[in-house]
């Protein structure tokens, strides 16, 4: 499993694509695979404030439920409506069409680069 080098990662298996002060957020292929077939994604609403390291939603598979942690702090400016209708996008294209949120970032925390995240998965 190779994680894109243009993204940053949290230890909770979220990825972040930073563009200026906006961050697109999703979960990694590793997380999606570990959960199994995702059948429901509960996301915050546009306008909600999310805090780095805090729960902001849920990913539910037939087998289990996993909290979605926000890897950044800021205001949610966009949520992926497509995954609401088709949660399997998170499994089939976690780094692409399965993205979850866009956040207008007010504060960041230390995130991992792809090499550090790969190392975390291998540990």
């Amino acid at each position: 499993m190779s994680n894109p080098t243009n993204l940053q990662y949290s230890a909770e298996h979220e990825w972040v694509a930073l563009d200026g002060d906006t961050a697109r957020v999703g979960v990694t292929a590793y997380a999606a695979d570990a959960l199994g077939d995702i059948v429901y994604v509960d996301l915050p609403a546009v306008g909600d404030t999310v805090t780095a390291g805090q729960t902001c939603g849920e990913l539910e598979s037939t087998k289990s439920v996993s909290d979605l942690y926000s890897p950044v702090t800021g205001e949610v400016v966009e949520v992926n409506e497509d995954v609401d209708g088709d949660p399997s996008l998170v499994n089939s294209d976690p780094f692409g069409r399965g993205w979850l949120l866009v956040v207008k970032v007010t504060a960041t925390v230390d995130l991992l680069d792809a090499a550090a995240y790969d190392a975390l998965l291998e540990a």
């Binding site: 077939d37 059948v39 509960d42 598979s61 037939t62 087998k63 289990s64 439920v65």
Partner: protein
């Protein structure tokens, strides 16, 4: 106990599972396939075509001798002596206090030969309990788990698949019946026991063979099944399949703190056996008193699933009055379903209850079990 073993055991099919790309999980001390690709696809295959499972982790206990039937009548809550040769019965073994030690399938292979199939997590407890219950009878009790591999083919296409591989009269094999025969494997015929039983709510077969023959039997079933749409299937879909079929799982719906009556399985208890049985007194009392909680089906009105351990709340009082034992999004019904213990006054179908679902109360409706019944 095996579950405390730091190194999980593997089945004789481990290399096959690895080659098929299985994700593994530790289950009752065994490393078992949880899914091969997608548990939803595997679930749907079992409902529409067929799935192939490795169940070698299940435990087998054999009783042989003239006292075998009477010994089982004493050790278990049912009456295995009344099972016809070649037939099977769902049963339970209970403790003196009536608590369920395990749920079992009992096969009568011959007049004086029974095969008892126990849950993997319980076989180390069940085998000595059966032996203790059989004490004083003319019977030999052996834990033969090491001598059997177990594969299951489940789904509407399973009869057609199995029929291609055996000389046994598959269409005539009745539900909950077993027969000895062979399966045509790539390198020749392999001796098996073929039972028309399962744990998915579908027509299906369980195939018992020697562990050294397991790869050959798997290969034969996979090859014969592929044109019918058979796929290898893991424990994840097995759990959602049995949940939809309303089948209890030990450690969830059944436990030492539960008697068969709470689980709506009082029908498996035969109280009027002439020589009594282990747990008789406690179970007779429980039947008379009536259960304080009953197992029901819940269908959630929202999209989030009640899960095992979540409290059930009486909406009239706000009090926590029950507990979810199993729950998942149902792939067939496409909504969350669960089983839960609730007090009798909330057990009628149509009753609305609340489930404390990760911090928020969500509505769920009590329904009849099972959630899913196949068309016969």
């Amino acid at each position: 106990m095996a579950t405390n073993d730091p190194t999980p055991r593997t089945t004789p099919l481990h290399a096959v599972h690895t080659a098929l790309g299985a994700n593994f999980t530790d289950f009752a001390g065994w490393q078992m396939p949880v899914r091969y690709s997608s548990e939803l696809a595997e679930h749907r295959a079992v409902r529409t075509t067929a799935g192939l499972f490795d169940l070698t982790h299940m435990g087998e206990i054999e009783l042989t001798g003239p006292g075998a039937g009477a010994a089982l009548d004493h050790a278990l809550v049912g009456r295995p002596s009344a099972i016809g040769v070649g037939r099977a019965r769902y049963s339970m073994i209970c403790a003196e206090d009536g608590g369920i030690i395990d749920d079992l399938v009992v096969y009568r292979l011959a007049e004086e030969h029974y095969l008892v199939v126990a849950n993997a997590s319980n076989v180390a407890v069940v085998a000595p309990e059966v032996a203790a219950g059989a004490d004083g009878y003319d019977v030999e009790v052996r834990d033969t788990s090491e001598e059997w591999a177990l594969l299951a083919v489940q789904g509407p296409a399973s009869a057609a698949i199995v029929a291609e591989l055996t000389e046994l009269d598959v269409p005539s094999l009745r539900y909950y019946a077993i027969d000895a025969g062979t399966v045509a494997a790539p390198d020749g015929a392999v001796e098996v026991l073929l039972a028309r039983t399962g744990y998915t709510g579908e027509d299906g077969f369980e195939v018992y063979c020697r562990p050294s023959d397991a790869e050959a039997v798997w290969a034969a079933l996979q090859q014969a099944g592929e044109p019918h749409g058979l796929v290898p299937a893991g424990l994840a879909c097995r759990d959602t399949l049995r949940l939809e079929a309303g089948m209890p799982l030990y450690g969830h719906e059944l436990s030492r703190d539960t008697t068969p009556y709470e689980a709506n399985l009082g029908r498996v208890v035969v109280l009027d056996k002439p020589d009594g049985f282990v747990g008789h007194e406690a179970l007779a009392k429980r039947k008379e008193q009536g259960p304080e909680r009953v197992l029901v089906g819940l269908v959630s009105t929202g999209r989030r699933s009640p899960r095992a351990g979540y409290p059930v709340v009486d909406p009239a009082t706000g009090a926590e009055v029950g507990e979810v034992t199993s729950g998942a999004p149902s792939p067939t019904l496409e909504k969350p379903v669960a089983m839960a213990y609730v007090p009798p006054h909330l057990a009628a179908p149509g009753t609305r209850v609340s489930v404390l679902l990760r911090g928020s109360l969500e509505d769920a409706d009590v329904v009849e079990l099972p959630f899913y019944t196949r068309n016969r």
